[in-house]
């Protein structure tokens, strides 16, 4: 029996077990929307802006083990989706984005709502397709889902001209797919694994550096086993938070630009580094030469060969699925009874404890003004450390990463690579749909939240009771911090004037809003509104926070990991917050 291309689209999504499609209709996808109307296997979530559709699909994927799916129309629908696609690309999130396209005879004629979607997205997708023939539609979907979730995952765009959605053909969904030019890396070379284990056995100051690749590869159990077996200290990157439990003694905190003192010092001074699904990116290792100034041997496990030796030369590259490689490594370590010299290891731990002692994340909560760190810490307590946390981009994102102790993978969802403000709320929506029983909170700033605030409406429609924790400092805080540090307190365009009354705004959308101004109210308010009484409600917490707070430690641009700008209490001059001139804050 012949069915239309649009029906094929719906059937393909069903075959892939898709639960939710996040999208927005328009002319070029009307056929597809008609096919969606006539089926009930998957649900469609109508967002209020296409960027949010892609972020929601992204949050859905990051908080589950599934591929996110978004559907947008041609032209402006497609271009609105691009930021979301690039966000997913830089964080390697498996996703399929379907975009409508003008009918094939109109392509290239500057038709109404025509853009070259394949051309626009080429640099920010894992792959993309323009389907010109309805007979290729089913196979293209099969390939898209396969490519999106195998190897190093990433977003795949399928651009479908309107006439292809109208054309009729038989539907056969391929059972399997193989692409001769695409062979994702497999298990990792046994010889390299042997070399790595032998190097580990000689380590005196071992360090394990775990990135988002471990989360994506579902390798966190193996990471834990390795860390514990070697009794080595472990750090997670911003993308890797949760891969190793933050409350464990062997965890030294996040590393990088806003990493802890102990994590950055250990990274700098280790002698054998095991990098697991991490890519030495510029927010972790700002200057490779400075990082390598302390001689060290590096083992780098990654599924993507191009991640290896891109910024930092390594000694033992192992290309392969992180989970499989770690599995083999663990087996070999156990089998050959490898142990790290215990005296050396003890000295190393002593050194680390010394670095840990001053507590580089220390801050003081006074009686007057709410510190953003305090809110995150209390949030962690009130949610028993169990919430799924999404964030936007800025200081609040770093505070979330530093002070919410993530104990499991897929609990922390943020735009690490692209740093997309506006990501948090739609991502939280997607995460809530993927995890209907979980507590989902979005830690945001008054600027970021306004970039996709319209999604409060979507949350109402689909009953996603996410909790929005707005750390409202009336500033583009992170921008202001850089202006303070590097631009002589010239706060150019970083004050957020004319803010709305977020409580009323939340209420206008049919939600609950609460404004908190006093430190003493933080905990009770969180307790009340995270209680079961509000389980079914979206609550917008508007915390009025200190405008002067900066994120510490900080590795400035061009600095080595051991050249951190430290919090006041760790500065040689004895610190005290008074040593900084803030200029005139509004």
């Amino acid at each position: 029996m012949k069915i239309s291309g649009a029906e094929i689209v719906a059937r393909c999504l069903q075959e892939e077990g898709v639960e939710f499609v996040f999208g927005y209709p328009g002319g070029a996808v009307l056929e597809i929307y008609d096919a969606i109307f006539q089926q009930d296997k998957f649900k469609h979530v109508l967002v209020r802006h296409e960027q949010a559709a892609v972020h929601a699909a992204d949050g859905y994927s990051r908080s589950s083990k599934k591929v996110g799916v978004a559907l947008v129309t041609s032209g402006p629908g497609a271009t609105n989706a691009v930021t979301g696609i690039a966000t997913a690309y830089l964080d390697s999130i498996p996703m399929v984005v379907i975009s409508g396209q003008v009918a094939t005879p109109a392509i290239g004629l500057d038709a109404f709502q025509e853009v070259d979607m394949v051309g626009i997205t080429r640099p920010c997708v894992k792959h993309n397709f323009l389907v010109r023939d309805v007979n290729e539609l089913a196979e293209t979907f099969k390939k898209a889902f396969y490519i999106a979730q195998t190897g190093r995952p990433g977003p795949v765009v399928i651009d479908i001209p309107k006439d292809v959605t109208q054309a009729m053909t038989e539907f056969n969904y391929p059972e399997s797919v193989s692409i001769r030019s695409y062979v994702p890396a497999g298990r990792g070379h046994p010889g390299q694994i042997r070399k790595a284990v032998s190097l580990i056995s000689e380590a005196k100051r071992p360090f394990i550096y775990v990135g988002g690749g471990a989360v994506l590869a579902d390798a966190c159990e193996e990471v834990r086993d390795l860390v514990r077996l070697l009794n080595a200290p472990c750090t997670n990157t911003l993308m890797g938070l949760g891969a190793y439990p933050a409350t464990d003694r062997q965890f030294v905190g996040m590393l990088g630009m806003h990493g802890t003192y102990e994590a950055n010092m250990a990274m700098q001074n280790c002698d054998v580094l095991i990098a697991v699904g991490a890519r030495f990116d510029d927010r972790v290792v700002s200057v490779p030469e400075k990082f390598l100034a302390v001689p060290k041997k590096i083992i780098h496990i990654d599924i993507d060969p191009s991640s290896i030796a891109k910024r930092v030369k390594v000694d033992i590259p192992i290309v392969g699925n992180v989970k499989d490689v770690l599995h083999e490594m663990l087996a070999l370590i156990r089998q050959t009874n490898v142990h790290i010299d215990s005296i050396a290891l003890e000295a190393w731990w002593q050194q680390i404890e010394e670095w840990r002692k001053p507590n580089s994340l220390l801050y003081v909560q006074d009686q007057e003004i709410i510190k953003p760190q305090y809110v995150v810490e209390k949030l962690w307590e009130v949610t028993n450390g169990q919430a799924i946390i999404t964030s936007d981009v800025g200081q609040h994102q770093m505070f979330a990463a530093q002070y919410y102790k993530f104990d499991r993978p897929k609990q922390w969802i943020n735009s690490g690579g692209l740093g997309t403000m506006g990501f948090g709320l739609p991502a939280a929506m997607g995460a809530q749909l993927a995890n209907p029983d979980a507590t989902v909170a979005c830690i945001t700033g008054e600027a970021s939240i306004q970039m996709n605030i319209q999604e409060l409406s979507t949350c109402k429609q689909y009953h996603t009771p996410v909790k929005i924790v707005n750390l409202n400092n009336r500033y583009l805080g992170m921008v202001r911090q850089w202006q303070e540090f590097f631009y002589g307190n010239r706060y150019s365009e970083s004050y957020m004037d004319a803010l709305p009354d977020f409580v009323k705004l939340a209420e206008a959308y049919g939600h609950v809003g609460v404004r908190v101004e006093k430190p003493a109210d933080v905990e009770p308010v969180l307790k009340e509104f995270f209680s079961s009484k509000y389980k079914e409600r979206l609550v917008f917490f508007d915390f009025m926070t200190d405008q002067k707070v900066n994120v510490f430690p900080m590795v400035g641009n061009g600095k080595g990991l051991d050249e951190m700008d430290l919090p006041p209490h760790m500065r040689n001059n004895g610190g005290g917050d008074g040593d900084r001139d803030y200029g005139n804050l509004c």
Binding site: S181, P305, A309
Partner: protein, 163 residues
């Protein structure tokens, strides 16, 4: 250093633009690029001449391999190879220059493939270096037009780039 990369790629719409886009997006150099289908109509073979440090060439190779439609990439510089480029060059050929032009073409084993009263068009094949040397050998004022294909390369002997 100059490198010559051979790429086997699916003969699909848009595949070429992915390769070119990769070079421009990541700031790699393309000195020349040639592409055409092979004896297997589903595959194209591309030769890219580029230059960069060893690290950059390694990244280029890895990034190319990451493109879904790229089947194989080899760096011909890694072993013995042959490269050829073709040039069509139109020169002024009048008076005593006419004989001189013919002689030069012969020395470089070029063929005159089009003749008018005032011009010759010479076809010349060889390494890019040789084509460059021919241009150098001519008096610039006699050159009317040049078209070069860019280099194509192939490994020597048993070294074969195939699926």
């Amino acid at each position: 250093m100059r490198h010559i990369l051979s790429i086997l790629i699916e003969n699909e719409a848009g595949a070429l633009s992915r390769v070119v886009g990769l070079f421009s997006a990541r700031g790699y150099n393309i000195d020349s690029l040639t592409v055409s289908t092979t004896e297997d109509a589903t595959l194209s073979r591309m030769t890219i001449v580029t230059h960069g440090s060893d690290d950059v060439i390694e990244q280029i190779t890895k990034q190319l391999n990451k493109l879904i439609e790229v089947v194989k990439v080899i760096d011909l510089n890694e072993s013995d190879h042959i490269e050829r480029e073709m040039m069509l060059i139109k020169v002024r050929a009048t008076g005593k220059d006419r004989e001189e032009m013919k002689r030069m073409a012969d020395i470089f084993r070029g063929r005159i493939i089009d003749v008018t009263e005032k011009t010759y068009t010479i076809e010349l094949t060889g390494t890019s270096e040789k084509l460059g040397a021919f241009i150098e050998a001519l008096d610039r004022t006699v050159i009317l037009e040049t078209v070069r294909t860019g280099a194509s390369g192939i490994g020597r002997g048993e070294r074969i780039l195939k699926i």
